[in-house]
């Protein structure tokens, strides 16, 4: 809502951000107002730059300012292995482990008919194009083990079946350092049913 008072406008704009209510918004607005002009100018230009320059990687749909993201460009990454994630923050979480040396594919959401999100609203078409273009050895579906995450994983599994590509799902179960006694029953029974052999 645009009013004629610039302070109110700023507060209204800030409340649109996640996790920011009226009170925090007003605190932020007055903080910005009381700082040197530089802060406001930097913030404003950073906001505009990010919107103008950042787009989707043409290969994996990760957010990037280039045509292809850093990971897709890296010569050492295994281009034949794709880890499918819900969002860029999820991609970053996996990157931080340093364990994965393949490339990613970012869906930008999960399937949820209730919220009007179907497969066509996600970056699934781009994934299928990718499968047709190069020789992929393995797809790892790393969506969360929630109802929507599982539905999306199951959908992908059915969708890529004709391609005859190895498709795997990340494991879920007991966290490292976790105490069995305090693990909830569902996680525990899932962990039991997906146990692995020790020898």
């Amino acid at each position: 809502m645009q009013t004629r008072d610039p302070i109110t406008n700023l507060i209204n704009a800030l409340t649109k951000l996640p996790g920011i209510g009226e009170r925090t918004a007003s605190r932020l607005a007055f903080f910005i107002l009381n700082q040197p002009d530089e802060l406001a100018e930097n913030l404003a230009s950073a906001l505009i730059e990010v919107k103008q320059q950042v787009g989707y990687c043409t290969q994996c749909c990760n957010l990037t300012k280039d045509e292809r993201c850093m990971i897709c460009q890296a010569p050492k990454r295994n281009q034949n292995m794709i880890c499918i994630v819900e969002s860029t923050p999820d991609l970053r979480a996996i990157e931080r482990t340093g364990e994965f040396h393949g490339t990613y594919h970012v869906l930008h959401g999960l399937i949820s008919p209730l919220e009007g999100v179907g497969p066509d609203d996600l970056r699934i078409r781009e994934l299928i194009t990718r499968l047709g273009q190069s020789k992929i050895e393995e797809l790892i579906v790393a969506t969360s083990p929630s109802v929507n995450g599982e539905a999306t994983a199951l959908y992908l599994q059915k969708l890529v079946k004709p391609f005859e590509i190895k498709i795997t799902r990340i494991a879920s179960g007991i966290p490292i350092g976790g105490d069995l006694e305090y693990i909830d029953r569902v996680t525990l029974s899932r962990a039991l049913s997906q146990r692995r052999e020790l020898n």
Binding site: I111, S112, P113, L114, G116, G118, P119, V147, N148, E150, A151, L154, Y155, K158, L159, Y182, D184, R185, V186, S189
Partner: protein, 367 residues
Amino acid sequence: MLIEGLRIRDFRNIEKAFIEPHHRFNVFWGLNGQGKTNILEAIYLLSAVKSFRPQTNNDLIRFHSLNAQLEAKVDRGGSERIVRLEIHSKGKAVFLNDQKVKNLRDFFGSINVVMFGPEDVRLLKGGPSARRKFIDRAIFNAFPGFAFVSQQYEEVLKQRNALLKKEAKIDPILLSTYNDQFVEFGSEIVFRRLTFLETFIPTLQSTFEDIFDASFTAHMEYSSQWLGEAKTQKDIADHLDRALENSVAEERSRRFTVVGPHRDDLSTQLNGKSLKAFGSQGQHRGFVLAMKIAEIKYLKERYHFSPILLLDDVSSELDRSRNQFLFEFIRHEMDGQVFITTTHRDYILLDEDLRYWEIDGGQIKPD
């Protein structure tokens, strides 16, 4: 299972109360509309978080108060815990020994209650949803993990219905995805219901014979249009899968999921005749009483101690001999703690192990 102390603050019409219940019988008496049922509701909420009567959080908070607080000190077979529930207009928070419970899954089962109130008499007469609620709540009481399965099922069902409703042309791969999830959780729900009934029905039958006499044979059956004779989870899943296939045309025109555990029912018979169609008022009440008592016996077997029994508005719904049976049962067959509300003390056929409170305008007075 024992409530050793119960603290209530700004809940419904109760401003402040603290009671130390007897380990056996606790009777709250007073005129109607004074707040007797509110005490039972407080205990029920501490067990199930959701109430047995339809309400919003604001209904539970005393007029002009910010929030309501309920707290119970519970002895659970030797281990003691403090359960606290804070009710705010925007939500509820549960605390176990002063630690906030992040996932209700870890909390359920802390207090087990079985409730028997005036509305329950309509359990067998009304629509199937009340009977599904009865069986699912009984299973949940015994196996709290069941809550997760039914939540997942509800969520998948909602997604599937949204898909059927919104899309003019449904993506067949997406529909088959939701079918798989629907069958996975749906078959588990039905499997758990059948497993429950297997031990529950014989107990129900013998209880009913005790209440009436041996010439009456009570029976209860899982009633479903698609289940057939399936018993194992695998068979149930196959049947449910086929039922989905067979209802494609109907689903296309009605645009929601027409088969599944959310449409199933429990049917009840007396000497082979449908209770719903032919049963007398007294038989209905006796049957429901037997169901509740069988549920208590079932939980006792499961946990090796009795659940807490909440008896709301005793005697207005049962005739004298049924009433006598009920008190015989809670005195001799059951060793747990019982909370009773009544308008007349004469309805209470108990003479020992007993504590009375008088309820008057939200005030709880020992008596």
